[in-house]
C-alpha cells in the first residue's frame, strides 16, 4: 500500500465507518430484515389497506403541495431579503431559520393553538368557513412551516451571486421588467429552486412532531403515515410497522432520486441557456 503523508487515515476512516455501521447501517439492516418477515403478500395487503393508502396519500401529497407552496413563498421571501434594504432585514433574515431551531413538538402545539377556533388566527378564519386545526389543511400548514427555510436558504446565495448586468442587458434590449424576470432570472434560479423543493419535500414527507398535534389524526382523513407506524408499534405489530417504515424509506429515496435527476436536467438546461 502507498504510504500516506498525512497521518490518521486508518484511525479516522476506521472510526467513521465503524460508527456509521453501528449507528446507521445495522439498525437499517434490522428494519429491512423485520420488514421481510411479513412476506410479499403481507406487504401488498398492508400497503393496499385503505387506511394505509389514505395515510401515505396525505403524507406524500401533502408534502408535495407544501413544498410547492414553499417554492413560491420562498422565492418571494428570498428575493425580498437579498434585493431590498429595509429596517429589520437582518432580524427577519435570522428568523427564517426558526423552523430548523424550534423543536417540532413546540411548533406543533403552537400552530394548533394559533389555528384552533379560539386561536389568534383561527377565530378570523373560522367565520370565513376555513377550518385549519384538526383537518388536512392543518397538516399542510405544519408541513409548510417545517419546510420553509429550505427554499429560502438554497436560493439566497444564488440570488446574491446573480450578476446585475444580465438583467440590465435584458432591459437594455427592450424587455419589460416581468419579461426579464420570467425569461432571464427565473431560469437561472431553477436549479436552486428545485434543490430547495427537494429538501422541503423530503423533510415534510416524514414529518411527525409538528403535524400530529394540528392534524387531529382522524383515520382516513387527517392521519399521516408516520403516525400509522407508531400505532402499529403500540399494537405490537412490529412486522407491520417495519414494512411501513421500509415503504416510507423507499418512498423518500425514490423522491430524492427523482428530484436529483430533475435537478441535473435543469442544470444542463440552464447551462445551455447561459
Amino acid at each position: 500500500m502507498r504510504r500516506r503523508v498525512l497521518p490518521g487515515f486508518g484511525l479516522s476512516f476506521g472510526y467513521a465507518v465503524a460508527y456509521l455501521g453501528l449507528i446507521v447501517l445495522l439498525p437499517l439492516a434490522a428494519l429491512a430484515w423485520k420488514a421481510s418477515g411479513i412476506g410479499f403478500e403481507g406487504l401488498v395487503r398492508l400497503l393496499s389497506a385503505p387506511r394505509t393508502l389514505a395515510a401515505l396519500r396525505l403524507s406524500v401529497g401533502g408534502a408535495v403541495v407544501a413544498a410547492l407552496i414553499n417554492v413560491v413563498i420562498g422565492l418571494l421571501v428570498g428575493w425580498v431579503l437579498v434585493r431590498y434594504r429595509f429596517p429589520g432585514r437582518r432580524l427577519f433574515d435570522a428568523l427564517v431559520d426558526l423552523p430548523f431551531a424550534l423543536p417540532t413538538a413546540v411548533a406543533g402545539i403552537a400552530l394548533t393553538t394559533l389555528y384552533a377556533s379560539n386561536g389568534w388566527l383561527g377565530r378570523w378564519l373560522e367565520p370565513l368557513g376555513i377550518k385549519v386545526a384538526y383537518t388536512p389543511l392543518g397538516v399542510f400548514v405544519a408541513m409548510v412551516f417545517v419546510g420553509f427555510p429550505f427554499v429560502v436558504r438554497t436560493l439566497q446565495p444564488v440570488l446574491s451571486a446573480l450578476e446585475r448586468d444580465v438583467e440590465e442587458a435584458a432591459e437594455s434590449l427592450g424587455a419589460q421588467r416581468w419579461q426579464t424576470f420570467f425569461r432571464v432570472i427565473l431560469p437561472m434560479l431553477a436549479p436552486a429552486l428545485l434543490t430547495g423543493f427537494a429538501l422541503a419535500l423530503a423533510r415534510a414527507v416524514g414529518e411527525y412532531g409538528s403535524v400530529i398535534f394540528i392534524a387531529g389524526n382522524i383515520p382516513m382523513r387527517s392521519e399521516i403515515a408516520p403516525l400509522l407506524i407508531v400505532q402499529k408499534l403500540e399494537q405490537f405489530d412490529v412486522a407491520g410497522a417495519a414494512a411501513l417504515g421500509v415503504a416510507m424509506l423507499l418512498l423518500s429515496f425514490g423522491l430524492l432520486v427523482l428530484v436529483s435527476l430533475l435537478q441535473r436536467w435543469s442544470q444542463r438546461w440552464a447551462e445551455r441557456a447561459a
Binding site: 428575493w79 427577519f92 411527525y208 408516520p226 403516525l227
Partner: protein, 287 residues
Amino acid sequence: MNARKHSRRVAWPRRMVHLILIVLALVFLTLFLLLPLATVFVEAFRQGIGPYLEAIKEPEALSAIQLTLLVAAIAVPMNVVFGVAAAWAMTRFEFRGKALLGAFIDLPFSVSPVVSGLVYVLLFGAQGWFGPWLDHHGIKIIFAVPGLVLATMFVTLPFVARELIPLMQSQGSEEEEAARVLGASGWQMFFRVTLPNIRWALLYGVLLCNARAMGEFGAVSVVSGHIRGLTTTMPLEVEMRYNEYEYVGAFAVASLLALLALVTLAVKTLLEWRYGDEIAAHAPGGH
C-alpha cells in the same frame, strides 16, 4: 450591493412593486413564524408568572430537563468525534467508496424521525434482533435512557460532519503538510493547526447538533415508552402535558425549548456575521 442607489433611481411604479413585495414577505414572516413563537410565550404566561414557575418546578419537569441535558451531553460529543474523524478521512485522503460514505453520512437527514426510532426498536426491543439476549442479561435499551441516546445520535449524526467537510475541502491540506515538514507529530498537527482552523465551523455544527438533540421529538417518542420522570425528555413532557389538557404546563416547558431555539438562532447569526468566511458556505440542515 448598491441596491439603495438602485431603488432611488427607479420610477415610482416600480418602487410601488418593491414596497408591495416587501410588505407581502414581512406579513408572511410575521404571521407564519413570529406568531407561533409569540403564542408559546403568551400561553405559558397566560395565568401569570406564578403558575409558570410552578409548572417548571414540578419534579417531572425538572427530571425531563435533566434527562434532556444528559442525552445531549452524550450524543453531541459522540457526533463531534465522528464528524471530525469523518471529515478528516473524507477531505484528506483518496479512497474507493468515498461518495458512498458521504451518502451514508447524509442518510439520517432523509429518514423520517419515526423510522429513526423504529429501527432501534427493531434492533433492541422485545421482538428485536438482540431483544431476547438483552432481556436475558437484564439490560434495558428500549424504553430506557440508552435508547433515547441512540435515537438522538442517529438523528443528529450528520450535523457536525456536514459543516466540516465543505470547509476542510476548501481549506486544503497545505497547512497540515507544512506542519508535518516542520516536524510536528500527528496529534500536534491536529491540535495546533487543524483544530484552530475549523474551530468556528465546529462550534457552528455543535450548535445545530445540540439544538436538534435537545428538541428531537419523533425518534425519541418511539423509543421512550413515556415513563414519567424516567424516560421523558422535554419535548415528550410537552406532549404529555398538552395531551392531558395541562396547557400552561405544556407551554411553560415549551417556552424553555423556544428560548433554546432563540439562543441558538442568535449565536448562529452572530457566528455567521463574525466568522462567515471561516464557516464556509453550507447547505441548510435537514430534519
